[in-house]
C-alpha cells in the first residue's frame, strides 16, 4: 500500500474573505495560537503519519498569519513528526499580507520547497470586493521574498468570474501573474459557496453574478492563453508551468490516502473519509484528552468509490484510467456504470481513449455533469 500524504491545517486569518468557506477564523489571541501549536503536536503524535509521506501540504486559513516566533515553533513541531527534507513535495500556503522575508526563510529552512501564494486579483477594486487584506504590489513582494529565501517552485492562486469581469480584464490579470514568473498557476472560477457573506449578498440582490457566457469564455480562454505560455492545464483549475503539477492536490483527484491534521482537516483512508471538528476549541479539547478529534466521517462502498473515482478523475486532463480503477477497487466502471458511460459518451461530453475516460472539448466545462451521471448510478 502506498503511504498517505499529510495535510496540515492552520485555521487563522487576518480577515474572513466574503467568498471563503474554508475553515478559518479571525483570531488574534496569542493563547489560542499557542494552544493550537501544542494540540497539533499532540494530534500528530496520535495519528503518527509516515515520517516521509509522499507529499506534505500546509494550508489554511493562513499559515503565515502566525507571528515569526510562533511560526518557528509551528515548523519545529512539524519537523519532530516528519522528515520534511526527505519528502518529495513540501508546500506551504503563503498570504501576501503576512508573508515576509523572515517567515519565507524560516519555511525554506524547515524544508519547504513549494509555496502557493493567494494573489486572487491584481486590481485594487477587485481585491477590496474580495475583502483581501493586501494590495496587488504585496503579491510581487511575497514572490520576491520567497525567491530570495530559495523557493524555486512558486504557485499563484487567482480567481475569475468576478461580478462584471470581462475576458479582457481577466487576460490582464493573467499577464500580470505571468510577469511574476510563477512555476504553477491555479485559476478558480469564483464560486458562491453556501454560508458565505458573498452568497448572502447574492441572494439578497446586493451582488449580481457575472454573465455566464462571459465566464465560460474566460474559463476556455485561460487554458488557451496559458498553453501558449507554456502552462499545461492538468486539471480543471490547475496549470503546470516549470514547477510541474502540484502532486499533493493531484493525489486527491486520484483518490489517494491522506492524513489531515488541524481543525476541520479531512483524512482519507481506503474509502473512509473523516473530517476533524471545525472549531479550534472543540478540536483542541478532544486532542488534549487523547480522543480522536473527528467530527464527521463516512465510509464509501466500493461502488461509491468507483463512481467518485470517475467524478474526481475526469477533472484531470489525462482523464480517469478505468482499468486502474477496476484493479484498485475491484469494481470495473465499464461494467458497473455501463449506462452512465453510454450516456456521457453519447452526449459527446466524454470519450474513451484506450483505458481512460477523458472529457471532450465540449465536455470540459461540464465535468460535474459527467461525474453526476456516475454518482447517480450508485
Amino acid at each position: 500500500m502506498a503511504l498517505p500524504s499529510l495535510y496540515v491545517h492552520v485555521p487563522f486569518c487576518v480577515v474572513k474573505c466574503g467568498y471563503c468557506d474554508f475553515n478559518s477564523y479571525v483570531v488574534d489571541d496569542a493563547a489560542v495560537m499557542d494552544r493550537f501549536v501544542r494540540a497539533l503536536d499532540l494530534e500528530l503524535a496520535a495519528v503518527a503519519p509516515p515520517s516521509v509521506p509522499p507529499t506534505v501540504f500546509v494550508g489554511g486559513g493562513t499559515p503565515t498569519y502566525l507571528d515569526a516566533a510562533r511560526f518557528e515553533s509551528f515548523l519545529a513541531v512539524l519537523r519532530t513528526h516528519v522528515e520534511l527534507d526527505r519528502v518529495a513535495e513540501v508546500t506551504i500556503e503563503a498570504n501576501p499580507e503576512s508573508l515576509d522575508r523572515t517567515k519565507a526563510q524560516l519555511a525554506f529552512d524547515a524544508g519547504f520547497r513549494r509555496a502557493s501564494v493567494g494573489a486572487q486579483s491584481f486590481d485594487a477594486a477587485r481585491l477590496r470586493f474580495l475583502d483581501r487584506a493586501h494590495d496587488a504590489a504585496a503579491v510581487g513582494r511575497a514572490v520576491a521574498d520567497l525567491r530570495a529565501a530559495g523557493f524555486e517552485n512558486i504557485s499563484l492562486d487567482l480567481m475569475f468570474g468576478l461580478p462584471g469581469q470581462t475576458v479582457a480584464e481577466w487576460e490582464r490579470d493573467l499577464e500580470t501573474a505571468l510577469a511574476l514568473e510563477p512555476d504553477h498557476l491555479s485559476c478558480y472560477h469564483l464560486t458562491f459557496e453556501p454560508g458565505t457573506r458573498l452568497t448572502r449578498d447574492h441572494r439578497q440582490g446586493r451582488v449580481a453574478a457575472n454573465d455566464e457566457d462571459e465566464d465560460k469564455r474566460m474559463f476556455l480562454r485561460t487554458r488557451e492563453l496559458l498553453h501558449a505560455r507554456g502552462f499545461e492545464a492538468y486539471e480543471v483549475s490547475n496549470f503546470a508551468g516549470p514547477g510541474g503539477p502540484c502532486r499533493h492536490n493531484d493525489h486527491y483527484w486520484l483518490q489517494g490516502d491522506y492524513i489531515g491534521v488541524g481543525p476541520g482537516a479531512s483524512s482519507h483512508a481506503g474509502g473512509w473519509r473523516g473530517t476533524n471538528l471545525k472549531a479550534v476549541e472543540a478540536w483542541a479539547q478532544a486532542v488534549e484528552r487523547g480522543l480522536p478529534p473527528t467530527g464527521e466521517a463516512e465510509t464509501l462502498t466500493r461502488r461509491q468509490r468507483a463512481a467518485e473515482a470517475v467524478w474526481l478523475g475526469v477533472r484531470r486532463t489525462a482523464g480517469v484510467d478505468l482499468v486502474a480503477v477496476a484493479r484498485r477497487l475491484g469494481v470495473d466502471p465499464r461494467a458497473a456504470f455501463e449506462g452512465a458511460l453510454r450516456r456521457v459518451t453519447a452526449a459527446g461530453l466524454a470519450l474513451c481513449t484506450g483505458d481512460s475516460l477523458v472529457l471532450t472539448e465540449e465536455g470540459l466545462p461540464f465535468g460535474d455533469a459527467v461525474g453526476t451521471a456516475f454518482l447517480e448510478d450508485v
Binding site: H189, T191, R315, T372
Partner: protein
C-alpha cells in the same frame, strides 16, 4: 318522563366567530351542566383542529336542565353549529332537530353573509328565531344600529333583541328565559308510533356508531327492536341517552327529546343521515320523515402521498376520516407526474383545508395537494352530458359539442364605501351583478352570479384585501351554464405534459398558461441544451418561455476537504432526480410539478 311542554330544542346559528360556542359555554355554566372548574373556552369544540383554529366544524348536541323564573325545570337540548359556509350542511341537519334558533349577531361587526344564510335556513325549517346581539362589551359595539340591520336584512323584528356579552356573561340569563318564552315546545305524541330523525352520527372506537337523533313521535326504550326505514336494517337498542355533554344513559326517550342511540352498528356507511328510526315490529312501523339532500362535493383536488409507498396508508387515513365526515368523497387517481393518489371532493375550500390538515395532523400523512378545481360538464356530440372533475377525464375533443360550468350565487356583505372595489373584483372574475340590498345606511349585500371556478381561485383572499377585511361572502350552487372553456396544454420541448394540462375559461387561458410556464421556468433545472416551454390551446401557442442551456457545470476548487461536501451536493441533486420525470429528453423534478399543481402562493 319529562313533560314535552317543558322541553326546548334549539340551535345557535351565526356568522363565523360571532360567538356561538362561547354563548354555549355560558349556557352550560348557568344551567350548572358543566362545573365551573371543568369549564374551558368553547368546550364543545373538542376536535384538536377546532380548538387550534377556534372554529366549530362539527355540530354538537348537549342537554341541560334549567330552573326558570316560573319555577319550572325545563329540559334544554342545545345544538351548537358551525358558522362557516362550507359546513352549512351541518347547520341544516341540526335545525331539523329543533323548534327554535338563537340567531347570534356580533354587535361590533353587524349582519354578515352567513348571518343571512343561516337565518334563512332557520326560517325555511320553520323555527322560531330569537335574535341575540353579542359582544356588547366591545367598545365599538353598536347594538342599536345592528338591530336595524337585522330588521332590514332578515325582516326579523329586533327592537327586543337581547344584547349580551357571551364573554363576560352579561344578560346571558335573559337568553335562557327567552328560550323558555319564545321557543315553542316540541309537538309530538309519546304514544304514537316511533319516528326518530337521525340528524348526525359519529364513530366511537369503543362503541361503534353513535347515532344522534331527535325523537319526533312515539317512545324509544333500551332493548327495543328498531329499524332504519330507508336503509331497511334492523337493530336492537343497546343504549340510549342524552348528551350532557358526555353521553348519559337513560332507559327511555320520548317524543320531543334529542339524544343518542347505540345499537351495534359497525360502520358509518350503514347509517344514512336524515333516515328515520322506527320500531321493527310490523304493526309498530311508521313511515319515514322527510330527510335531507345529501351534500354534494363542489370542489375537487388530488391528494398524493409524498412518498409513493404510503399510498395504502393514505387510503386507510381517508377511510378513517370519512367515517366521521360523509360529506367528502375520494376515489383513486393516477397522475403521470405524481403517481398514485386520490381525487377528493369537498363541500368548499375550508372543508378541503380542514380535511388536508386532519390527514396531516391526526393521521400523520405527508401529502401533496394539487390545486383545487370545480366539476365541469361537457356536452357530447351524441347529446349526452359527462361530468369532468379533472383534465384527465376530458373526452376526445372531437366528441365535445360544448362545455358547461357551475355557476354560484355569491352574496357579499360589505360596508358601502367598498361597493366599488367589490363590483370591480366581481366583474373582473366574470361575475354578473344582480342586486343590492341595503342594511341600514352603512352596509349592503351585493348579489352576483359567478362561475364557481373563479371563486376557488383565490377570490376570497382578493375580496378580503380589496375591502380591508370588511367583506364577508357566501355562495350557493345555482346550476350549470354554457361556458367557453378551453383545455390548455403545457408542452416541454414540444412534448405534452398531461399532468399539467388544465381547463379554464378562454379569457383567462393566456394569463394562467403564462403563470404556469413562469413557475416551471424557475423549477426545472437547466439542461445542457435550451428547453422550450409552451402553453397551447388546440394548435395555437398562447405563451412561451425558455430555459437557457447550462453554460458551465464543474466544481472550480476541489481540495481534499471539499470532496465529501461537494459530492454530497451532487448526490442531493441526484436524489431530487430520483423524483424526476423524464419528458422527452428533459428532466422535470417533482418540485416543479408541485409548484404548479399545488395550492399556495403564486
Amino acid at each position: 318522563m319529562t313533560d314535552t311542554r317543558l322541553i326546548r330544542n334549539f340551535s345557535i346559528v351565526a356568522h363565523v366567530d360571532h360567538g356561538k360556542s362561547t354563548l354555549a359555554d355560558r349556557l352550560l355554566e348557568l344551567t350548572l351542566t358543566v362545573e365551573k372548574r371543568q369549564m374551558k373556552e368553547q368546550l364543545l369544540d373538542d376536535m384538536e383542529l377546532e380548538r387550534e383554529r377556534g372554529i366549530t366544524i362539527k355540530a354538537r348536541a348537549v342537554a341541560m336542565r334549567y330552573k326558570a323564573a316560573d319555577g319550572q325545570t325545563y329540559l334544554f337540548n342545545l345544538i351548537d353549529t358551525p358558522g362557516h359556509v362550507d359546513f352549512n350542511y351541518e347547520v341544516q341537519k341540526s335545525l331539523q332537530a329543533c323548534e327554535g334558533a338563537l340567531l347570534l349577531v356580533d354587535a361590533s361587526q353587524g349582519v354578515e353573509a352567513q348571518t343571512v344564510v343561516n337565518a334563512l335556513l332557520a326560517e325555511q325549517a320553520q323555527l322560531a328565531v330569537v335574535p341575540v346581539l353579542n359582544k356588547i362589551d366591545l367598545p365599538h359595539a353598536r347594538p342599536e344600529q345592528v338591530a336595524t340591520e337585522v330588521e332590514d336584512a332578515l325582516c326579523i323584528p329586533a327592537e327586543d333583541a337581547i344584547a349580551i356579552s357571551a364573554k363576560t356573561g352579561v344578560n346571558c340569563e335573559q337568553v335562557l328565559e327567552a328560550i323558555v318564552a319564545l321557543v315553542p315546545p316540541p309537538v309530538g305524541n309519546p304514544d304514537n308510533k316511533l319516528q326518530a330523525l337521525i340528524f348526525d352520527a359519529a364513530y366511537d372506537d369503543y362503541r361503534g356508531v353513535v347515532i344522534y337523533m331527535r325523537v319526533k313521535e312515539g317512545t324509544i326504550r333500551k332493548g327495543d327492536s328498531v329499524r332504519t326505514v330507508a336503509a331497511g336494517k334492523a337493530y336492537e337498542v343497546l343504549e340510549i341517552g342524552r348528551l350532557a355533554p358526555r353521553m348519559v344513559a337513560e332507559n327511555v326517550l320520548h317524543a320531543g327529546e334529542v339524544g343518542y342511540l347505540i345499537c351495534n352498528i359497525k360502520q358509518l356507511e350503514d347509517v344514512k343521515i336524515g333516515d328515520t328510526v322506527t320500531h321493527e315490529k310490523e304493526a309498530l312501523r311508521a313511515p319515514a320523515l322527510a330527510g335531507f339532500k345529501d351534500p354534494k362535493p363542489m370542489v375537487f383536488c388530488g391528494f398524493y402521498p409524498t412518498n409513493t409507498a404510503d399510498f395504502d396508508d393514505l387510503r386507510k387515513s381517508l377511510e378513517k376520516l370519512r367515517i366521521n365526515d360523509s360529506s367528502f368523497s375520494f376515489e383513486p387517481e393516477t397522475s403521470d407526474a405524481l403517481g398514485f393518489g386520490f381525487r377528493c371532493g369537498f363541500l368548499g375550500l375550508l372543508h378541503m383545508e380542514v380535511i388536508q390538515q386532519r390527514l396531516e395532523r391526526e393521521q400523520d400523512m405527508d401529502l401533496v395537494q394539487t390545486a383545487p378545481n370545480v366539476t365541469y360538464r361537457v356536452v357530447l356530440t351524441d347529446g349526452t352530458e359527462k361530468e369532468v372533475r379533472s383534465p384527465s377525464e376530458m373526452p376526445d375533443p372531437a366528441r365535445i359539442e360544448s362545455y358547461r360550468e357551475p355557476i354560484v350565487e355569491v352574496r357579499i356583505v360589505v360596508p358601502t364605501e367598498h361597493i366599488g372595489a367589490v363590483m370591480k373584483l366581481a366583474t373582473d372574475r366574470r361575475g354578473i351583478y344582480e342586486k343590492t340590498d341595503y342594511y341600514g345606511s352603512q352596509r349592503v349585500m351585493l348579489t352576483f352570479a359567478m362561475p364557481f371556478s373563479e371563486i376557488i381561485f383565490d377570490f376570497h383572499d382578493r375580496l378580503k384585501s380589496a375591502t380591508r377585511g370588511f367583506a364577508t361572502m357566501d355562495y350557493e350552487l345555482r346550476g350549470f351554464e354554457d361556458a367557453d372553456l378551453v383545455k390548455v396544454r403545457i408542452l416541454v420541448s414540444t412534448n405534452e405534459v398531461d399532468a399539467l394540462s388544465f381547463l379554464c375559461h378562454r379569457t383567462v387561458a393566456d394569463t394562467r398558461g403564462r403563470k404556469i410556464l413562469q413557475k416551471l421556468r424557475t423549477e426545472i433545472p437547466r439542461h445542457l441544451f435550451e428547453v422550450a416551454l409552451q402553453a397551447a390551446v388546440g394548435g395555437k401557442i398562447i405563451a412561451r418561455e425558455n430555459i437557457r442551456a447550462l453554460s458551465k457545470n464543474v466544481t472550480a476548487k476541489c481540495y481534499g476537504g471539499d470532496i465529501t461536501r461537494k459530492r454530497k451536493l451532487l448526490e442531493k441533486q441526484k436524489k431530487g432526480k430520483k423524483r424526476m420525470k423524464q419528458v422527452g429528453n428533459v428532466e422535470i423534478p417533482q418540485a416543479a410539478f408541485l409548484s404548479v399543481l399545488s395550492t399556495g402562493d403564486d
